[in-house]
Amino acid sequence: MQSGINVFTSFGTNDIWFMAQAAWRTLMISAVSIALGTLLGVICGWLLHEGRILAAVLLAPLLDAFRSVPLIIQLVLFYNFAPIIGLNLDPFASGVIVLTLYTAALVANVAQGGMQAVGVPMRRAARSLGMSYWQDLRYVVFPIGARAVFPSWVGVALGVMKDSALVSVLGYVELLRASQILITRTQEPLLIISIAGAFYFALSYPISRYAAKVEKRWVQ
């Protein structure tokens, strides 16, 4: 059936390498954003939990905004806003900043829930033993709270990993963008999209199963 000049080239080993690099970029941007976002999110969660009026009035609506506007809009907005205030950021840096803030907004909720899960009597008990506020936080609130919300945090982290695909709108060639490029060239959509899907699935599925198992064990 093939006739004339074939402008498309078939899928080859080079392309596998191309996709592997893109997958590595997906992993990189996710890992950095999740790590930074978790740190920032825990601090925000702590502020929401402990901080009084100021946190409730300023921080809560701000974090809420990150959860009420599509990530893709946030990315485009920030990418086009940065030059206005004189920042020249590459797609990776822009992506990390937006994904970090987005992660932080989601983790803040989780962290706040974790601290609430510890409960006042437990903390009174800790303080009654003569622990300082920080010791209470370090030895009582953090370990108990982290355990309570670990599965939710895994859910957030996996969500961010999957959402990192959206950084492609800034021209960052992560896995899905790479797939799109290859599909245009090779005209083998099903094969390539399946490889990309399999990569995400292979990463996300075992981790989410593990988190579910941990949750079940801790509930008992």
């Binding site: 506007v69 893709i72 086009n80 206005i84 959206l166 995400y200 989410s208």
Partner: protein, 220 residues
């Protein structure tokens, strides 16, 4: 600010068009939710009651929907199906992708909901001579809907946010329309800022409507 001049006038002039696109966003989100609810209920019931091929079909659906990026799912319906000679319109791609995703997430919510209804409710229904179908539709599902009402609302919010991916497959919902205007006028930041506000308001309206509806629905 700096040497950038904001131009809001053209943006404000297109606000009516953007709001129209916002309605399209809402439409596709609500439609995909309705489809997702019907399919999600089916998947949940299959996963709880059946073994064999049907069980594996339902489980694969749920796990694929939850463990791959929504954008991947959209791409799959976009050019993945092209391999079978199936070319969907942008509207159908977004509707199919979102419905697939919602059904997978809702199936898990429903499963949790069914497990939260005591088994004695089922037995009480059966002991009155009801058929299994009647027990499900009259006794169990109404109670499940109350249990998953809050997650259901969240899922609708997600559907609205996710529909913004339509922009990447050429669908002119709110984000796609914004991009269309932005690329014509080069007022990218201004356009997306206004769109972010529209999304924020849309999400808040959904949450408000959901709360009002709950008061009417759940008098017990």
């Amino acid at each position: 600010m700096f040497d950038y001049n904001f131009h809001w006038r053209p943006v404000f002039k297109s606000v009516p068009d953007l709001l129209d696109a916002g309605l399209l966003t809402l439409q596709v989100a609500i439609l995909s939710m309705l489809i997702g609810i019907v399919i999600g209920l089916g998947l949940a019931v299959i996963r709880m009651n059946m073994r064999g091929p049907l069980y594996w079909f339902a489980t694969s659906w749920v796990e694929l929907a939850r463990n791959t990026p929504a954008l991947f799912q959209l791409f799959f319906f976009g050019f993945g199906l092209g391999a079978f000679g199936l070319h969907l319109t942008p509207y159908t791609i977004v509707l199919a992708g979102l419905s697939f995703n919602c059904a997978g997430y809702l199936a898990e919510n429903f499963r949790g909901g069914f497990q939260a209804v005591p088994d004695t409710q089922r037995r009480a229904g059966l002991s009155l001579g009801m058929t299994s179908w009647q027990v499900y539709t009259r006794i169990l599902i109404p109670q499940v809907f109350r249990i998953v009402y809050h997650p259901l609302t969240n899922q609708l919010v997600w559907a609205v946010l996710m529909s913004s991916l339509g922009m990447l497959v050429g669908f002119r919902e709110l984000s796609g329309e914004t991009q269309f205007f932005a690329s014509r006028t080069y007022r990218i930041f201004e356009y997306f800022a206004v769109t972010a506000v529209i999304y924020y308001v849309l999400v808040k309206l959904i949450l408000l409507a959901s709360r009002l509806l709950a008061v009417r629905l759940f008098r017990y």
